[in-house]
Symmetry: none
Subunit: 211 residues, 4 copies
DNA sequence: GATGAATGAGGGTTCATTCAT
DNA sequence: GATGAATGAACCCTCATTCAT
């Protein structure tokens, strides 16, 4: 069991998360973080051991684990397989949009991070989440509702890729649709809805025999 | 007209592109680049002015401009609107996969880069490419083949997002499908095909009234 | 109120002052200074922010302010105007000779320095000191002891110029007058006396109606 | 006999002289000079051997040699000793004001320059010029017109020091006397006249028994 | 004779981290 | 437990000069 974090540690992690998401890991100095948090620079090494370990801590805290959700869905008899997939789509959309800041870090660090413990953490997460989705899809296939030969990673790529690319280009999306005057909250709600409908349509088209 | 690049300049740009894609811009030092290229460190400033300008040069060289392709498609009478969109999908897939290294840089720098001239370059590209796609879709709408109310940026997000996320998780995809023994070329050909079919299916489902 | 300087800061400033006076600002590297002081190179940026700011600090510390002295002289009823000017001459001579090292820097940087905050500092000093001398001279003029139409900046140019040029050519002066065997202290005392008598004679001739 | 200089060499020397006088020797890069002159950077090493040798060349070209003038004065029977000294004063004032740019360099390099050949050049010049002045003064002393015990270097210090300090503070002098609207030429003419009268007064007071 | 390309050395500064307190 | 001072390493860049042409 992890020891609980002090308020200064949480503040440092929140500050670091924001700065990492804006300037990248290498583009953010521990001084930047400490100054923005109003905390002594030495505290980062002191609390977390190193800048790298601070990043690991952030990853551990924010990793999206869908296990519980999928377990619930598998047991739930009130939903048909497609509805279960829809529910999973929303879990991902919400999970990413609620972790906007962290997800931006994730998108970069997936590519450039050399930290072995983060690489491993991400690999494990990908594998597990694929398995869970696999479980969910197989049920639909057994019931004859879903097609055979579903390329699960490709489904996931479309789901996460679409949400990620939307997230990265949020400003462009807002400008394109002339939603600049809208409140941030309202804008985000609409994007969330748009994404949900859009991806569910895609999933329906790909998973089912409908057409 | 740009002056043509010397072989050393090209070598530096290629080396820098690779290292930036692996370690990020801030994670790559000019010494790293120069050493990997076997060229004196000072040459980077000498040739490009600065590390930042080197990055800009890489961006300018590798920016994907779809204008010509779209122009050709608009004039082409032998293809129906959906086939034209299919062709555009392949342009994007090929463009990204052929620029794998650069596209990894793009994915990161879109998020963390502060360089104004790169930000501007990307913004202009996004706007233009959206316009071109818009032109293509409107033709299909006028002909009654495409639905009204297509969210073009969302379509693009799915196209680019899916390809990007696939690219970033190529290794995972290979392992998942047990394609490790396959040659790199063959694997890439298959991924390319998979992506093409997958996204075209999506585009068909979203754009047309079929179902 | 300025925070008091640590011993290392003082050591760095003293070392820098000496090296700047010998090799100029641009001819002295921060590594030179740090090595000569036996202190880590990074400390210069750490303590002063930059090499330039270190220079500014030196200027602030050593700026010659004659305000107090002039105020005292103005109030002093025991001295006639010429004696007051004599006293001011000695203030300048002593001020410069006691700051030999710094004054050599000043002579160069007045010409080549581009640092705006130093330029401003010097301008302010020149203006103020001119005003003080002006006050002193006007009293003598009102009493009819000094001539009208005294060109105050020209008087100052002769005072400071003579002392400066003597300072720069100290070695030549010593050799010329065969004072090489004299102790440094004794030589300086004699130079000081020579300068004092020499300039007072000049001031007397220029200021009064005597001849 | 020196080989005559090509027009490019002269241009480089003039450009270097100006830049050295503004930014100092170490503050001016060969690139600065070459670019300002519109000549290839390599030409400085090519023509002069090095940046240092270029500086030496400038010093040789601009050194003020008063030998001829003093010889003429010694022979001239139409002038009394004081008039001869007056004439010498004007030689110095004109020599310095006509070499304003170079003299600014001289003032700095006298202090910080480490170049042995320049140090030697300056030392020789100082010694010679002192001898010439000495010759001139001894004539006046023999005739009983000048005082005994004249401190010749100190006289020179006042002469050169006053002119130098005036030169360095030209702008301040102009502002102080509200001569900003005057043309540069007219201002310089007035300063020259002021200096001439001022220093001649001083010389008269110091050299003669008048009072 | 003249030059653009190229270089090793060194410039000032910032970095993440450590250590004495 | 917490911190300000301090550090060696590395950062990007510019320097004067050289060399092949």
């Amino acid at each position: 069991m992890k020891p609980s974090l002090s308020s200064k540690q949480v503040l440092l992690m929140d500050t670091a998360e924001l700065l990492f998401s804006q300037k990248g890991f290498d583009g953010t100095s521990v001084r930047d973080i400490a100054e923005a948090a109003g905390i002594n620079t030495a505290m980062i090494s002191y609390y977390f051991g190193s800048k790298e370990k601070l990043m690991e801590e952030i990853f551990e805290r924010k990793s999206l684990n869908i296990k519980e959700k999928v377990d619930d869905l598998l047991k739930d008899n009130s939903l048909d397989p497609l509805e279960k997939m829809y529910s999973l789509v929303d879990v991902y959309i919400d999970g990413i949009l609620q972790r906007k800041t962290f997800h931006r870090i994730l998108l970069c660090e997936q590519i450039i991070n050399q930290n072995p413990s983060i690489i491993q953490m991400l690999d494990k997460m990908k594998t597990k989440n694929s398995e869970y989705i696999n479980d969910l899809i197989r049920v639909g296939q057994k019931k004859g509702i879903f097609k055979k030969n579903i390329d699960i990673p490709m489904m996931t790529n479309t789901l996460i890729g679409t949400v990620s690319h939307t997230l990265v280009n949020l400003d462009f999306y807002r400008t394109y649709h002339h939603m600049e005057t809208m409140s941030d909250e309202e804008f985000e709600r609409q994007v969330r809805k748009k994404l949900s409908v859009h991806i569910k349509n895609i999933y329906k088209a790909i998973l089912t025999h409908e057409s």
